[in-house]
Symmetry: C2
Subunit: 412 residues, 2 copies
């Protein structure tokens, strides 16, 4: 990603489809953060805590598993129909820490491997690199995650003596491809997890800020406790809050031979990484959930509408610049996500760093080579477009520039 950052710095006037960030103007007034924190502290007082206990909750060291587990468990039930006890929740310093803790908890032996539906989010491969964990790519098909491929990869790994312990997926409007796992494939993934004895790591940060009805989460469909859900409030609320969570209700036996939950083991690991998540940040999230009468989704309608419009608008613009006949003649195509921040553009040339530099310098448009999201080889002729960080005017100008660039490259 360093090269991408450099290109972005060198061409500040380019329209950039690179950053997978929330749209800034959706954020409110900073004073509202303090209101949310106050609401949570008032809630603690209303629950019977003394003023001194409330102060200690905010200022003192706290439990590694967090102080808003109950509110998060409530919101999972109300927003997603996921029924888990608060004890199964660990609050983390963002979903990135949730990944680190979970992978560290699950992958122990030399022969253990982490399966990753690919192309994949760089956060999960970064964690694996940090921990020295072997990643095995499970290539997406043309419409996304493919259970048959997963089955083949697992059999091949088993045959060479390795043990797939977990499979990481972004089931809804994936980063980076924009693909969504269909319902039947979700069921198939859960069956495979039970059959081959691995856990599914479900990471779905975009679903609550996507328009319309979403498919059920894997965790909501999880009858056999095969799913560990990784949660993020970066898109639902805002990235700066740095609060995420893990839902891990799997029964395990701890070092002392006691029956406990995987969440407890994850909390122990957290105590060696960040001790506990900043209580002020937890108080802001807690206050937001309380204001939403328990639901995170109470606040996400404006964001869902904005990102949904951005995605539709981008696809319309691509259709306009590349009508069906032209599209075929040049060899360009794209998927059509109904939500999330990203879509995949297939192009008839190598979409590498050199192409990106030409695009930025000669056409004033920046994007991310999809090959950056493959642990091994792959994605050499694909582009990730992020639509989340641009105004409608920037989208118009950006797609126009992109169309000129792609047309010129195709003719080279």
């Amino acid at each position: 990603m360093n090269f991408l950052n450099e290109v972005t710095m060198r061409f500040p006037r380019a329209v950039s489809f690179a950053p997978g960030r929330p749209f800034g103007p959706l954020f409110g007034d900073p004073e509202r953060m303090f209101d949310h924190a106050r609401r949570y502290l008032a809630h603690l007082a209303a629950e019977g805590r003394s003023p001194e206990q409330v102060r200690e909750a905010l200022f003192q060291y706290g439990p590694a598993s967090g102080i808003i587990r109950d509110l998060i468990a409530d919101s999972l039930r109300l927003d997603e129909g996921i029924v888990v006890p608060p004890d199964a929740v660990v609050v983390t310093s963002g979903a990135q820490e949730a990944m680190l803790l979970t992978v560290r908890a699950l992958i122990a032996g030399q022969d253990d491997v982490l399966l990753v539906s690919t192309p994949c989010y760089v956060g999960i491969t970064g964690v694996a690199r940090l921990l020295g964990v072997t990643v095995v790519a499970v290539p997406e098909g043309p419409t996304g995650f493919d259970p048959a491929t997963l089955d083949e990869v697992i059999r091949a790994e088993r045959a060479r003596g390795r043990r797939p312990r977990a499979c990481y997926v972004v089931p809804d409007h994936s980063n980076p491809s924009g693909n969504t796992i269909p319902l039947a494939a979700r069921s198939a993934l859960l069956s495979l997890a039970a059959r081959h004895d691995f856990l599914v790591l479900e990471d779905s940060p975009y679903r609550l800020v996507s328009p319309g009805r979403q498919l059920p989460t894997l965790k909501a469909m999880d009858e056999r406790r095969r799913v560990v859900q990784l949660g993020s409030y970066s898109k639902t609320f805002f990235p700066g809050v740095r609060v995420g969570f893990v839902v891990a209700d799997q029964p395990v036996t701890d070092g002392a031979g006691r029956q406990t939950l995987l969440a407890d083991e994850i909390a122990k690991i957290k105590s060696m990484v960040t001790l506990n998540t900043a209580p002020l940040s937890q108080a802001v999230v807690g206050g937001l959930l309380l204001e939403g009468e328990g639901r995170a989704s109470a606040f996400t309608a404006p964001a869902s509408a904005f990102y949904g419009d951005a995605m539709r608008h981008t696809i319309e613009l691509l259709d306009r610049w590349f009508p069906a006949d032209r599209r075929e003649a040049i060899g360009v195509r794209w998927n059509t996500p109904t939500g999330g921040f990203f879509l995949t553009l297939q192009v008839p040339f190598r979409a590498d760093g050199a192409a990106l530099a030409r695009s930025a310098e000669d056409y004033g448009v920046i994007w991310t080579p999809m090959s950056y999201f493959y642990p091994d080889a792959g994605g050499e002729t694909s582009i990730r477009l992020s639509v989340s960080y641009l105004t409608p005017e920037q989208l118009e100008e950006g797609v126009a520039r992109l169309a000129r660039f792609v047309t010129a490259e195709a003719a080279r």
Copy 2:
């Protein structure tokens, strides 16, 4: 530590010398936190940022290395005479993350080892366990860290083909022993680091809340960039802020062959652990530093006085209960730290979990077996007493109970 937690839960009325926590009543009003954050945001505006840029600093993803590096670098100069550029600072989610990132950055090969002055803080051994890093204990002498022992340990490690890469010390009022490294030993440590080519990891969370003049930090004495300083605001401000930092001004060559600072490599690792430290927490720390005209020490006089009094009072009480002749007859002794939270009590019996259970149940007093702080064997007849979390009345009652317990155990 689990057993200690269980004992603490089972005997809630016992006086506990176990928790190494700041004293709660020193914390202010939660509303003051919001004032600090506001002051930092006003500072950004005064520096010329637009209202939208200020909002983005608080709400958006931010740089992995942090947003208050300049203020931290200023405070290190004003408080400690440490002169480093802001680029050498990485803001972390507490000192625990600082340890994880630094150990991960420095210990790469199978033969690399981490030296740890022992008894030692469990945070550092936890990080090593998490990362699969080999820890080699460097036993403290009767007055604390001993350069001659370190030299011997390094030679022995070298002789067996291992490569000591870093040595972790808490130079001021150490957790757990309470010992302080004298000036001559600090110089000797820095000379050894240069001679044997390793880095010193300096962790000193207690010095700004200790009374009187402190010895210079290792980093302030560091003429050859042999020291990486790990910073914490948990005692200086409050634990719930979850902000720490690393100072790493060592020149290194990155993966692409570019000259950079170790801090940059540490920031890259942070982007795989927590992405960035919550900007709201950074804003609170930034606002405090601004209010203190750049100094963290502007606020620590009440805490220094409180903890200094607690330590003196505890030592007076031990003197009263164990006058010199009695002390010798029983075989009890203790060190006399001039600051920090902890002191070491040597006893004439095995101070293990069973003894702790008897102490809690029969005498109503809890403490931490010093053996918990040894990576291998050691400390079997020592106790860590923490004086930070008790009122003067609790100290009086606690030492009285402890004296009765120790006397009874000695007579068993």
